[in-house]
Amino acid sequence: MELISDFSSEATWPVIMASIFSVLIIGLVVYIVIYQHFIRLRNARLARWDSIAESLIMEAIFFEKKSTKDPMLDALDILEHEEVRVPKRVDNLMKDRAFRRRIMDKIVAAKRNVSGTASENLSSLFRKLGLDLDILNMLSTSVWYKQATALELIGFMKLASHQHLMGQYVDDQSGLIRMEAQNAILRFSGFEGLHFLTRTRYSLSEWQQIKLLDELSHLPHEDFKGINDWLVSENDTVVILALKLTRIYHRFELFQEVLKCLDHTNPEVRFHAISVLKALPNPDAVPVLVQLFPRETVSNQIEILKVLQDIASDTEIGFLSELLYDLEFDIRKEATRALFKTGPAGKEVLSQYEGADAYPLNRIIAHVREEDR
């Protein structure tokens, strides 16, 4: 009894814990072995399925509708009789959820690499296999990543019948759902889809802005409307996106609105507004920028000088020369660049400048001169 009591008081708990750990160790080893085995089996099965799916997808990509020679029927686009035939084997496999998911992924992957009729055929196959219903099921769950996946696929597969569902998600509190919904809506509505910007409550991350701009880059250029409204949005990120749109699509007519943005309280917005002026070269911007310069942050000052490198004239040589004394070496460097860009007069000023032979200006001038070569 003493042995037992001693053991329980001192040595038993580590032994009990070690026993529990040992059981867990055995369990984990068994689990890992079985799991990897299962993965191998699954991969083998997926390889078989891939071959079936790919053959169906290839058939869909190269499928051509037979002309009915009846313009009326062509116009009605009655596809029921002219869709890719789904083999029985695939039909049977479609009962398996894993296969459905696999073929869905394969169609999506294939669609990323094709366009035109082939792309439409894949969307058609997608619907014919009933995968759009799977998407709807995913959308109806409360799991964020399933909803996001559904929204991504609705847009990507252009499942127009579900377009109306997008609206409720573009301002969803989940960032991912919101992002996929916004991207999807652009796929359906093109630039028109950007109108969600007017009412969005949430910030647009830089990543989302890149995605939206990428989506738009695939659409035919349009003289879309709304940018002027977004440039005065209370949402700073919307203003920034609007400035990017102005820059990318060279919306010269918005020059004045952009200038107004130079007075924005957020230095980041002002930074983008400054950089837009590079894309909208206009001499009227020069005095505004020169006037703005002393009040700006260092990074914005550098950006102003970069813009001035493109639009400044001899008039600004005096302003730029003064900056050669600036405490920030980067400002001196950009000012030197700007002077170089103004032409011979600017270069002359630099060569005559007191201190041009001394560090750091001598090094900066040499640096800029080499760039100019």
Binding site: E2, A11, W207
Partner: protein, 1152 residues
């Protein structure tokens, strides 16, 4: 100093630390799951190609410092230039390489020295030149040539030169995944509410992988063991640790091998600190500190994807050096930013991350090392509790393995990089062996790192860098610059590690083989020569199983030192193992011989004897001689040859070296450690015969040292005694005053003389009525019929050491027998109390009375006279010597000398005489052996034995002859005493000190079953008692009798363990009788009609036969009682006082 308190505090500190460490790891492991899952789901929506090609993606600068990288610099530069990213510049900083890196780059990329203005926002060493390519294809390449200043300085130069907002710092020799840069940059674009100041990704080990053109083609596990272990370590650190800390918002480290930073914040913080060897950790901590102090919302992001593959150290030397630097880097960083420690101003990092790094990263190796030192100290001072230590070790080990396997599972569930079965099995196997191989390297390197740092504490921040070297990044990727030349321990190559595993497994197998052979030999011997009935198959399977268990247990104790020695000296490990197996084999063989000689298993009792006593015992048994020494030498040589020969021919796979220690630990902790002997066979001898003798010996020793260190409250006693002050005097109680002897004696006259004959080895198995071996003591038998005889009487010990304290003092045992407690506890006894009442006291012994410290004990009781071997005059013959050793004078000579002494008693005072005989001790050689051989044969006839019975007895002819000799001596003594005038007023007490174990025993209780009789002319009648009493009962009864019949003054309080002799005639008893078999084991307790031996319970019948009993209730009751007794017994420490000073002084005069 209170060592127990120190021990308790130290143990508590280690326990609390272990608790928090394990809890921390558990939390990290579990908390990382959610983070990883969320990342993987979110990541599935990211199209990284978009980021690579988008003109809106932020421009980035990749900075790759290089030092002496000529071998791969061109390939590495090409790899960096091939990174697909729209807006990118690649800055390679040549940190003053001594090789031709610059020339190679210049030629390969057609470089020219450009006029380049370097805005030195961070102070650096001199930049010798900035180079650009004339080829427009390489327009994004910038090569910087600078004076050597270390990695931090090179990175700072890159930062000064970089043109872009975000910088990516990368080791030039790293191999990047396809989308690495994109994944690293994306977090900067995702968050708007918090500024992302840095991002880091997972670094993995590239050793073993297929790499082509600077790209990873196929992931494989390294073939070499050290890199493989680091692979596992990286998986653990990145997938669990970093992920969890990132999720908590407390990440303090981004690997120096690959990380991205917000340049503006880096510059504001002053860039990398070249005054530390942990610049990457230091920079991130400084950036976080800056953001916290500026109250700016920020985030440090972590990408769990494997982004960067780096080569791991393959030798112990480089690994040690790396870990040494990591430690120094950590300590430097924590010291530099100590203001953040537990400072709520710094939020999660101050309250969680910083303390975690301090306690569990920086302190962990120190605590672990401290724990080891503490254990060694405990070992040296005998404080070590092996069970506790081993169970803690097992706990920590299993947790470590579990944590590693959990990390592997996370890897399999997320990225599943190691898809081949072989790789996965090896990776899992690595989890089991890593704690024994790379972990000790890490701990030792950390200790060295700490020492190195402390030595240079005055030059904090002034360390110089020699540059950085390749292949030295890690999960913590602290540094690459060998700031302090690290020691160069022996390099252990992977092949050597594999070989070591094979050597261990092979020798372990041979060790098992040797055990089996010894068992076969032993069994054959007993079947052939000792008339053990049966055949091989009856005994050998049991022997083999017991050998197997012992073998398994022994492996871990061989494995750990083997591994430790291997790190220092490869060949030394083999020599150690061979030597250890040889010594263990010798131990086993010696214990077999001992068992054969004595019939008992040698246990921890050997630890209770002094060196001189062991020498005397061994000497007298005749084993200390040159032929035996030569035999031992030959045996060891043979074992060494077998091991050497066999280990070169038997080759087990290296993995066996992993499995065997695990089996060993399992065997130890599955309860076999306290395994009890099988009770399958009829006789105890057979049961003990099949046991592994070494296992019994070492187990016994283990318990001896464990129990020796065990402490606890005395506990309550439920006995008949009324204790008066159990806290101070745990044994002091009121006298029961049970005078059971008076009714049997004629009363009157002066107090009687008392003569106590303690007869060596006299057991009831061969004495008196009921002797199942037949009685060989005809005279003593006759005495018993004339006196009071207790037929079921128990000795208090299995050896002689217990007889004096129990018979004379009814005393507890202490740790190793009462007489071994030094200084002896202050107590009273029959000796001191009779002396107080005017008795003369004397002790007669034919041997050396200092044996078992009898002399010291008797002198402490103020004995008047001790007669021992050295006092015998000429004319007395000692017992026949064996190999020159003899115990001294035989019983006849002892009594003869006593009878010749005229001054033993003055005739005025009553006396107490105690005789202890020795003739019946091993080696059982008596004077005039022929006569007693004849008597033996006659006795066989008298007893009416058949031939078989005679043959059985003849195997122990010497033993029985010595008993007859002793009986004859007693006869002569008593008969001569009859002639004396004082005979009429003398009480003789005769009892055995224990049963002779050399003659095989039938039962466990047999060892203690001895005759006890009181013979005296004063007796009114003879009587026979069947109830059980023990030696402890003699003094209480005698004193009560003398007090009541002769008005002797005895204290009202005493410390007797015994309640007094039981004079019930029927077999019945309710007493609790503790018994100490050997000097170290109190494993026998009699209570009621039961006997508890270890954990085994036996029912005793009226003939003192016993059978195993499965009554759990009774067992529990006795065990509870035993536990209380043990606890109280442990209070009997050196210098303890059993009785108060006042009482002691009164009855002894204050004698010490």
């Amino acid at each position: 100093m209170n060592w127990e308190l120190i021990q308790t505090i130290a143990s508590a500190i280690f326990l609390i630390y272990a608790f928090f460490l394990v809890s921390g790891y558990l939390f990290i492991g579990l908390y990382s799951i959610g983070g990883l899952k969320k990342y993987l789901l979110k990541n599935s929506f990211t199209n990284y190609r978009l980021l690579a090609s988008s003109p809106e993606a932020p421009p980035i600068s990749i900075i790759a410092p290089a030092y002496n990288e000529a071998a791969n610099i061109i390939e590495n530069a090409r790899s960096l230039l091939s990174i697909f990213y729209n807006n990118l510049e690649v800055i390679i900083v040549n940190d003053g390489s001594r090789d031709n890196s610059m020339e190679l780059l210049t030629d390969a990329y057609d470089l020219y020295k450009a006029d380049f203005f370097v805005n030195e926002q961070i102070k650096t060493k001199e930049v010798r030149g900035v180079y650009k390519s004339r080829n427009p294809i390489y327009s994004k390449l910038i090569v910087v040539d600078k004076v050597n200043g270390g990695k931090a300085d090179a990175l700072n130069v890159g930062i000064n030169i970089s043109a872009h907002k975000y910088i990516v710092c990368i080791d030039v020799d790293c191999i990047l995944e396809q989308d690495s840069i994109l994944k690293l940059v994306k977090p900067f674009l995702e968050t708007r509410d918090k500024r992302v100041i840095a991002t880091g990704g997972v670094v993995r080990i590239v050793n073993g992988c297929e790499v082509a053109d600077g790209r990873l083609v196929k992931v494989r596990l390294p073939d070499q063991m050290l890199p493989r272990m680091q692979t596992l370590e990286y998986i653990r650190a990145f997938l669990l640790g970093r992920m969890a800390w990132s999720r908590l918002g407390g990440l303090m480290l981004i690997s120096g091998a690959f990380g991205a930073f917000d340049k503006e914040i880096v510059i504001k913080c002053g860039g990398y600190d070249h005054g530390t060897v942990g610049e990457d950790m230091e920079l991130l901590v400084r950036m976080r500190r800056y953001m916290e102090e500026q109250r700016l919302p920020y985030r440090v992001a972590f990408i769990p994807d494997p982004l960067c593959w780096t080569e791991a150290p393959v030798t112990e030397e480089i690994l040690s050096r790396q870990r040494n630097r990591w430690t120094r880097g950590t300590i430097e960083t924590l010291y530099k930013h100590r203001i953040m420690f537990l400072n709520p101003r710094y939020g999660v990092i101050g309250l969680l991350s910083f303390p975690y790094w301090f306690f569990f990263e920086m302190m962990a190796p120190l605590v672990e090392f401290g724990g080891l030192v503490y254990f060694i100290v405990c070992l040296i001072f005998g404080w070590a509790d092996y069970t506790y230590f081993l169970s803690l070790l097992l706990f920590v080990y299993t947790f470590g393995v579990l944590y590693s396997l959990f990390a592997i599972m996370m890897e399999v569930k997320s990225y599943n990089q190691y898809t081949s079965r072989k790789d996965m099995y090896r990776l899992m196997g690595t989890a089991f062996i890593e704690p024994f191989i790379s972990h000790p390297i890490g701990v030792w390197a950390a200790i060295r790192g700490t020492i190195d740092l402390l030595r240079k504490k005055n030059s904090w921040g002034e360390m110089t860098r020699a540059g950085f070297t390749k292949k030295e990044t890690g999960p913590d990727g602290v540094v690459k610059a060998p700031a302090v030349p690290a020691p160069a321990p022996t390099v252990i190559k992977d092949a050597e590690i594999e070989e070591a595993g094979k050597v261990f497994s092979s020798i372990a197998l041979i060790w098992l083989f040797i055990l089996f052979i010894l068992s076969v030999f032993e069994t054959t011997y007993y079947l052939t020569f000792v008339n053990v009935k049966g055949h091989w198959l009856k005994y050998l399977p049991y022997s083999f199983v017991n050998d197997l268990v012992f073998w398994a247990k022994s492996l871990i104790f061989l494995f750990v030192p083997f591994i430790l020695i291997r790190f220092v000296w490869f060949r030394g490990a083999r020599i150690f193992l061979t030597g250890a197996v040889a010594l263990l084999s010798l131990l086993q063989a010696s214990l077999l011989v001992y068992y054969n000689e004595t019939g008992i298993l040698l246990g921890s009792d050997v630890f209770g004897y002094s060196q001189a006593e062991i020498k005397q015992t061994l000497g007298s048994s005749g084993v200390l001689n040159w032929p035996v020494a030569a035999g031992v030498l030959a045996f060891i040589t043979l074992i060494v040859l077998i091991v050497n020969y066999g280990s070169h021919r038997i080759r087990l796979p290296g993995i066996a070296a992993v499995i065997l220690p695990i089996i060993s630990l399992w065997t130890i902790f599955s309860g076999v450690i306290t395994g009890s002997p099988v009770t399958r066979f009829e006789t105890d001898f057979e049961n003990s015969m099949v046991l592994n003798k070494s296992d019994h010996f070492l187990n016994s020793g283990f318990h001896y040292f464990r129990v020796a260190n065990d402490s606890g409250p005395a506990g309550a006693d439920t006995g008949p005694f009324e204790y008066v002050d159990p806290g101070q005097y745990p044994f002091l109680h009121k006298d029961l005053d049970r005078d059971v002897l008076s009714p049997y004696f004629e009363t009157g006259g002066s107090p009687p003389n008392i003569v106590i004959l303690l007869l060596e080895g006299l057991g009831s198995a061969y004495s008196n009525d009921g002797a199942y071996l037949g009685s060989f003591t005809p005279y003593i038998d006759s005495l018993s019929k004339q006196g009071l005889y207790w037929e079921n009487f128990l000795s208090q010990g299995g050896r002689t050491f217990a007889v004096l304290p129990s018979v004379l003092g009814s005393l507890p045992f202490g740790a190793n027998g009462f007489m071994e407690v030094e200084p002896l506890p202050q107590h009273l006894s029959l000796l001191s109390l009779l002396k107080y009442n005017g008795y003369q006291t004397s002790f007669f012994y034919g041997g050396n009375a200092s044996f078992d410290k009898m002399q010291a004990y008797l002198e402490s009781q103020g004995i008047d006279l001790i007669v021992q071997e050295e006092d015998f005059p000429k004319g007395y013959q000692k017992l026949p010597p064996v190999n020159g050793f003899t115990w001294g004078y035989g019983d006849k000579e002892l009594f003869r000398y006593h009878n010749s002494m005229k001054n033993v008693q003055d005739g005025q005072r009553p006396y107490l005489k105690i005789f202890l005989t020795i003739s019946t001790h091993n080696p059982f050689k008596v004077n005039d052996p022929e006569r007693y051989s004849e008597l033996f044969e006659k006795r066989l006839e008298q007893l009416g034995f058949d031939e078989q019975q005679k043959a059985e007895r003849r195997q122990f002819k010497d033993h029985y002859s010595s008993i007859l000799f002793m009986d004859d001596a007693v006869r002569e003594f008593i008969e001569q005493y009859r002639e004396r005038p004082d005979f009429e007023n003398t009480i003789f007490i005769l009892t055995g000190d224990h049963r002779m174990p050399e003659i095989p025993m039938n039962t466990k209780i047999d060892r203690f079953h001895v005759p006890m009789m009181i013979y005296s002319p004063m007796l009114k009648r003879a009587e026979r008692f069947s109830s059980i009493s023990s030696h402890n009962d003699i003094t209480p009864s005698l004193l009560s009798y003398l007090k009541n019949s002769y008005s002797l003054v005895v204290p009202e309080l005493n410390t007797w363990l015994g309640e007094g002799l039981d004079t019930l005639q029927g077999f019945d008893q309710k007493r609790f009788i503790p018994i100490m078999q050997s000097k170290t084991e109190i494993r026998d307790f009699a209570m009621g009609n039961y006997h508890l031996n270890g954990n085994e319970l036996f029912r005793i019948d009226a003939g003192m036969e016993e059978e195993k009993e499965e009554n759990e209730q009774v067992r529990a009751r006795i065990m509870a009682k035993a536990a209380i007794f043990r606890r109280r017994n442990r209070l009997l420490k050196p210098g303890a006082k059993l009785v108060p000073d006042s009482m002691y002084i009164k009855y002894t005069g204050g004698r010490q």
